[in-house]
C-alpha cells in the first residue's frame, strides 16, 4: 500500500496541485521557490498528526495568498489536502476500514485534511477518512498506521541521533527489547554497572561529602542522598547508546565530531533499519521517508552511493521514499519514471512519453509519420541517455534554448548579453544537444495535456543548411574570388534557391502548436547568418561593424583576398545580392567554426566590458529565440 495521489489546495505557495506518486521512489526537482518543500510538508501534514515527536502544524501564514492581476492579493480561508492510497493488501483493507473508498470499483484508502480559518486567526482542523461525503469520524488509534521519518533540508541529524529523549536509535533498540521481552535483562546490566560504579572510592567520597553537607542543613529528619545511574526506565538506558564511528584500531570518533555528511548517512541507515524492523513486526503500517536535499554535505561520489542505497531500500514493502534535490548528479541517475518536475504544475517525466499516440503528432512531414507508442518510447530512451549531469540542469531552469553544438553555446550566451537580455541572469539554460536530435527534448514540452508537459518556455536554434554543397572545395575562398567572382555569384544563387532541410519543418510539427515552444531557423548556418546580419546598407557602415573589424584583424590572410571586392562596393546603396556576396566572402574568411565562436565570443565580451557602445547585430532568428525566452 502506498500514497498514490495527493491533491493540495491553498497550502503555502501551492494554489492547486495534484500529484500521482510512485509506490517506491519519488524524486521531486525544480528551481528554487517552486514549492518543493511545500509539497513535502503537505504530504507530511497527515503523517505527522499521530506523531508526537514531529511538530508540523499549520499556522495562519500557511494559507495560500492569491495575487490578482491588478497587484492586489487575498488570502485563502481554507486549506484542503486529499490523500489517496492504493494497492491495499486484504489485511490492510481491514486495518484501514475507516479510510476505504470505492473509486471506480477499485478499493482505495482516502483521507481529507482540512484547515479553516475561524475568528481571531484561530485554525480549525478537520480530518475525514474515507469518502469525504461521509464525514466518518477519524479513529485516532488508526493514525499510528501512518509512520514517517523526516530529514529536512536544514537538518540536525546529530541532534536526532544524540537526544536523550526519543532518539531514533533508542527507539529501534527499545522495540527489539519489547519483542524479546528482555527489559529486565537490560535493567540488570545497569544494576551491575551501578554496583561497580558506586563501589568506587570517587563516588563514595562524593556521596559522603554531599550527605555531610545535607545533614548540616537539615540537622535532623534527614534521608540520606544516594548516587546512581538511572536504571528504572528502559528508554533512559537505551537512549544512552550512541553511534560511534570506528576509525581503525582503538581510535573512535564521537558523533558530534563526525562530519555532518556522515551523520546524515548514519541517520538514514538507522531509519531504514527501523522501517525494516517495523515491517517485520506489523504488515499493516505504512512508512514514508522524506529527505530534502540528500546531497547536502555529501560529495558527488557519496551522493551516488547514497542514491543506489536508497533505491534498493525503497523496495521494502509498504514504504515510500520522497526526495527533493537540486543535485544534477542525482537527477541524471534517476529513471524518468521516478522524476517529478515541479513548476506551477508537476510532471512525472515518464508521463511525457506515455499514451501520447492519440495526440496524432506528425514527426516526419514528408512521410506523414506519427509519434506512436513505440516512437515515443524510443524518444524516452534517447532522453534518458541524453540527460547527463550537465543537461540535467535544464530541469532546474526557468527556460531552455536547445542548440546544435558548442559554437552555438558560446555565441548565444554572449549574444543575449549584447542585446541586454543575458540568459543566465534569467535562469535560462543553454542546452547543447551535441547534434541535431531535438525531438526527444521537445517531447517534454509539446503535449496538449498540461499534465504531460513541462510549462517552461523553450526555443530551438537550428540551421536550415540551405545548399549544403557550399562546403565543397569548388566554393573555397580562393575559387570564389577567381574568375571575376563567377563562383561567388553562382554560390549566392545556389544558396538563394537552395532547399531548407526537412528538420525545421519536422520540429515545427512536433511542437504541436504549443506556444511555449519556438523553433528558430537560420537559413544557412550560424556563421553565415552572423555575417549577413552585420552587413549594413553602405560599405562605410560595414567598415565600422565589430564583426567586420574582428574578421579583418583576426583573419588577415584571408581578409586581404576580399578587401578589393569590398572596396569596389563603396559608395553604392547595397542591394540584397550585394549584401549576400559580402556576407559569403566574410563567412569564407572564417577558418574553423569552433575557434571562431570562441574568439568572437571572447572579443564581444571584452567589448561589453570595455566599450560604451559598438556596432554588432545579432541575427534576427536568434533575437526571436532570446525574446521568446526572456519575455
Amino acid at each position: 500500500m502506498y500514497l498514490s495521489r495527493i491533491e493540495i489546495t491553498n497550502y503555502k505557495g501551492i494554489d492547486h496541485l495534484v500529484v500521482n506518486f510512485n509506490s517506491s521512489l519519488n524524486v521531486v526537482i525544480g528551481s528554487n521557490g517552486c514549492c518543493k518543500s511545500s509539497l513535502i510538508d503537505a504530504i507530511r501534514l497527515f503523517y505527522c498528526i499521530g506523531d508526537k515527536d514531529q511538530d508540523l502544524s499549520v499556522d495562519i501564514d500557511d494559507f495560500h495568498i492569491h495575487f490578482n492581476d491588478d497587484g492586489s492579493y487575498s488570502q485563502a480561508d481554507k486549506i484542503t489536502i486529499d490523500y489517496t492510497f492504493e494497492e491495499l493488501s486484504d489485511s490492510q483493507k481491514g486495518a484501514y476500514i475507516n479510510y476505504l473508498c470505492d473509486i471506480d470499483h477499485k478499493i482505495v484508502a482516502q483521507v481529507r485534511l482540512e484547515y479553516s480559518k475561524i475568528e481571531n486567526n484561530r485554525i480549525q482542523r478537520r480530518c475525514v477518512p474515507g469518502n469525504p461525503d461521509n464525514s466518518v469520524s477519524l479513529d485516532y488509534n488508526t493514525l499510528s498506521l501512518f509512520k514517517s521519518y523526516y530529514l529536512g533540508a536544514v537538518r540536525d541529524s546529530t541532534k536526532d541521533l544524540m537526544s536523550t529523549k526519543n532518539n531514533l536509535l533508542g527507539n529501534v533498540i527499545r522495540r527489539k527489547i519489547n519483542q524479546n521481552n528482555s527489559a529486565n535483562d537490560i535493567r540488570n546490566i545497569i544494576k551491575q554497572a551501578n554496583e561497580t560504579l558506586l563501589d568506587r572510592e570517587e563516588v563514595k567520597s562524593t556521596r559522603k561529602g554531599v550527605n555531610e553537607n545535607m545533614s548540616n542543613i537539615f540537622k535532623h529528619d534527614y534521608d540520606e542522598v544516594d548516587l546512581k545511574i538511572e536504571d528504572n526506565r528502559i528508554e533512559y538506558i537505551v537512549n544512552a547508546i550512541k553511534p560511534i564511528l570506528k576509525l581503525g584500531h582503538d581510535k573512535e570518533m564521537k558523533l558530534w565530531q563526525n562530519s555532518l555528511g556522515y551523520n546524515n548517512l548514519i541517520y538514514i541507515a538507522t531509519v531504514l533499519s527501523d522501517i525494516k524492523d517495523n515491517y517485520d513486526n506489523d504488515k499493516d503500517e505504512i512508512y514514508a521517508l522524506f529527505i530534502e536535499e540528500p546531497e547536502a554535505h555529501l560529495h558527488t561520489q557519496l551522493q551516488l552511493n547514497l542514491y543506489s542505497f536508497l533505491v534498493n531500500a525503497s523496495y521494502i514493502e509498504n514504504s515510500q521514499l520522497f526526495i527533493t534535490t537540486h543535485s544534477p548528479t542525482l537527477t541524471s541517475r534517476i529513471p524518468l519514471d521516478n522524476l517529478f518536475v515541479l513548476n506551477r504544475n508537476i510532471v512525472r517525466l515518464s508521463d511525457c512519453f506515455l499514451e501520447r499516440e492519440n495526440e496524432n503528432i506528425i514527426c516526419d512531414v514528408v512521410g506523414q509519420n506519427k509519434i506512436d507508442d513505440s516512437k515515443s518510447k524510443k524518444y524516452m530512451k534517447m532522453l534518458e541517455r541524453y540527460l547527463d549531469v550537465t543537461r540535467s540542469q535544464m530541469l532546474y531552469a526557468r527556460g531552455c534554448v536547445f542548440i546544435e553544438g558548442i559554437s552555438e553555446a558560446l555565441l548565444i550566451d554572449v549574444f543575449s548579453e549584447v542585446i541586454n537580455k543575458k540568459l543566465s541572469d534569467k535562469q535560462i539554460e543553454i542546452v547543447d544537444t551535441g547534434g541535431t536530435a531535438f525531438a526527444q527534448f521537445l517531447m517534454l514540452y509539446n503535449s496538449s495535456d498540461s499534465n504531460r508537459r513541462l510549462s517552461n518556455k523553450v526555443a530551438v536554434i537550428t540551421d536550415g543548411d540551405q545548399f549544403t554543397d557550399s562546403k565543397n572545395k569548388e566554393y573555397s575562398l580562393d575559387k570564389l574570388i577567381a574568375d571575376d567572382f563567377a563562383k561567388l555569384y553562382e554560390l549566392r544563387e545556389n544558396i538563394k534557391n537552395g532547399q531548407s532541410n526537412k528538420r525545421v519543418a519536422n520540429l515545427r510539427s512536433i511542437s504541436n502548436n504549443q506556444e511555449t515552444i519556438l523553433i528558430c531557423e537560420g537559413y544557412k548556418t550560424l556563421e553565415y547568418q552572423i555575417c549577413l546580419a552585420n552587413i549594413g546598407n553602405y560599405i562605410s557602415e560595414v567598415k565600422l561593424n565589430e564583426l567586420y573589424l574582428f574578421i579583418k584583424n583576426n583573419y588577415k590572410n584571408q581578409y586581404v583576398k576580399i578587401e578589393d571586392f569590398i572596396n569596389s562596393k563603396a559608395g553604392i546603396d547595397l542591394q540584397d545580392d550585394d549584401k549576400m556576396d559580402i556576407a559569403i566572402l566574410l563567412w569564407k574568411c572564417i577558418p574553423q567554426k569552433s575557434t571562431f565562436a570562441q574568439d568572437l565570443s571572447m572579443h564581444l565580451k571584452d567589448k561589453l566590458i570595455n566599450s560604451s557602445s559598438f556596432n554588432f547585430n545579432v541575427p534576427d532568428y536568434i533575437i526571436d529565440a532570446i525574446n521568446h525566452l526572456t519575455i
Binding site: 484501514y96 476500514i97 466518518v136 506489523d282
Partner: protein
Amino acid sequence: MDYELTEERQRYLDARGRIVLSACPGSGKTTSVVKKLKYLAEECQQKYGHYRGIACLSFTNKACDEIKSKYQLMHNENFAFPNIVSTIDSFIFEYIVSPFWKCSNLVHYKPFVTNDGEFIHSLYFATNSEGERFPLVGRQQIHIMPPEKTSLGINARYFGNKKVEKEDEKEYIESIVKYRMRKGVINSNDALYLANLIMHNNPEIAKVIISRFPYVIIDEAQDTSLMQNNLFSILVEAGLSNIEYIGDSYQAIYEWRDANPQFFSDLLADDSFQKLVLSENRRSVQRIIDMYSKIRTDSDAPIISHNVIDRNIPIKVYFYNNENLSLVINDYLEICKSNSLSNCHILVRGNSFIGNYLNTRQQVAYWKSDIPYMLIDVLDNYKRCNYSEAVYILKKIFVKLVFPTDFTKQKEYLSENNCNENSKLMAILPLIPTLEETFENWTSKSQIVLKNCMGLEQEPDFSPKKRIDGFRIAELKRQSLSQYYSNNTNSQIPIETIHSSKGASYGGVLLVLSKNSAGNNISLSEFKRNGNEISEKQRLVYVACSRAEQFLALAIPDSVSESQVIETLGVNADNISRVGIQMRLNLT
C-alpha cells in the same frame, strides 16, 4: 473478580471457530464472555496485529456498557482498539452504511440516522406560498399510511408491524422508503435494510469487514432480527471463521417486526457450528429453576443450581382481586424483608391491563407540542451530567423551531459539530425551569427561555391539551411537574416490566399474571407446555421467573381455581395464599 472455572466453562473458553453457546439464566454468560475476550484479544493481536480485532456485539448500550465495565473490573484494563464493544445497530451503521452507502445506489446524500418519527414525517411535506402544507409523494396514501411507519424487509414491506400484501400498498411503501433513503434521512431499520443491500451487492465489503474483525461475538443472539441474521450469515459465507452466537432461545422476548426467535434454535441444528452449553445456574435455588423449567422441553439439558445457598423460602402463589392487591404486595414485601432479601421486584407485562393498573404514576401528556417533553428530557440529562446528550436534544429542539419544514437544513445542523453553537446551547441548560415549577409557570418560563436564547421571533406554541382523560386541566396547571416527570421515583413499590428486567438478578420476584392470555396478557396457562412450540408469552414468564434468586411468588386472579393452580404448577396447597380475600371467600 473471582471466576470459578468449571468443566463447561473451560470448554467454552477453549472453543474456537463457529460456536453457538446456549447459556441458561444465571449462568454468568457475560462474565464468561468477558473472561474469554482477554484470551481472544491476545490471540488476535498475535495473529492479526495491532489494527484488527474483535467485534463484541450486543443489543443495547446498557448491555455494551456492562461488558466494558466487567472487562475493566476483571482484567484491570480497557477492552480497547482494535477491539470494539458495540450495539449491532451502531456497528452496522459505522462499518457498513456510513462508509459504503454509495454502493447501495439508493442513497444520494450522506445518510443521517434518526428515529424521530415527526422529523421523518416532515420530509414528505412542503409548504406552498399560501402557507399550506402539501405532500411531496404518495398524495393519496400518505394520510392513511404515515411514512414514518413504513419500512422494508427482505422481500417484504411493512406498515407498522404488519406485513403488507396488497400490490398498491407494497408499491407505495417501497417508493416512500426509497424517497427518504435518497434524501439521506433514514431510521435504524432503513440502515439495516441498506446494509443488507450493500453487502449483497458488493461481496468485497464482507471480506473487508472480516479482515478488520476476524472475531465476531454476538451476545443475546436469540433476539437478532431476520435482517441482522442475514448480515451475519453473509459474513460467515464470506469466510468469517471465528463467530460466536451467545444466547438462550427461551429468553427471546423482543417482538421485532421481523423477529426471528427461530433463528437461534435453527443454529443449534446447524452442523457447521460447535454447540456448547452453560447449564450451571449461579443465581437461583433449584426450586425456582424447576418452576420455570416446566416451560423448557425435555430434550434440553437440565439446569442445575450451582453453589447457591438455599434459604428455603417456598414458592408462593397469591390469589388477588381489585381489592386485595395492595395486601398481596405488602405480604410479598414483608416476606422479602423478613428474609432480608435485597432488590425485590414486582414484574408485570408492559401494556397489559394489570401493568397499567399497578403503574399509577403515569406520565401525563399535558402539551400538544412534543417540544416540552424533549425539554424535560434535556433537563433530565443535564441533571445526570450527561451534557452532550442534553445539548444534542436542544439541537433537535432548535431545528424544530427554527427550520420547521426545511429538513436539509435540519440535517445539516444536526450533523455539524460546531463549538460555538454547542456553547450557546450549553448556556441554555441552567436557564431551563426546574420540574418543581407548576405546569403553568414552567410552560411560560420555558417559552421565554427558548425565545430569548434561540433568537426566535415569537414564543414557541406550548399550549396545553383541552382535555386529558383522568385529569382536570385546571387542577393540573397548579401542580408541579416533578410529580409526573421526575425520573428518580423512589417508588415504594418496585414495579418493573418483564422486558426491562432482562439480564437482572433479583432477590425476590412477584410475577403478576392475568386471568387469561387475551391480548397482551399473560396467565397461568403459559406454564403448560404445548408440544415443542414455545410461545412468546411463555418466554416472558420464563424470563420473569428466572430473575429470582431465593423467592418466587406468583399473583393469580382469584377467579382461577385452586385445583387448576396446583395441577399446573405442582405447588403445595400450603403455599397458596389468599391474603385479604379469605373473608370474602368465606362469605360466599
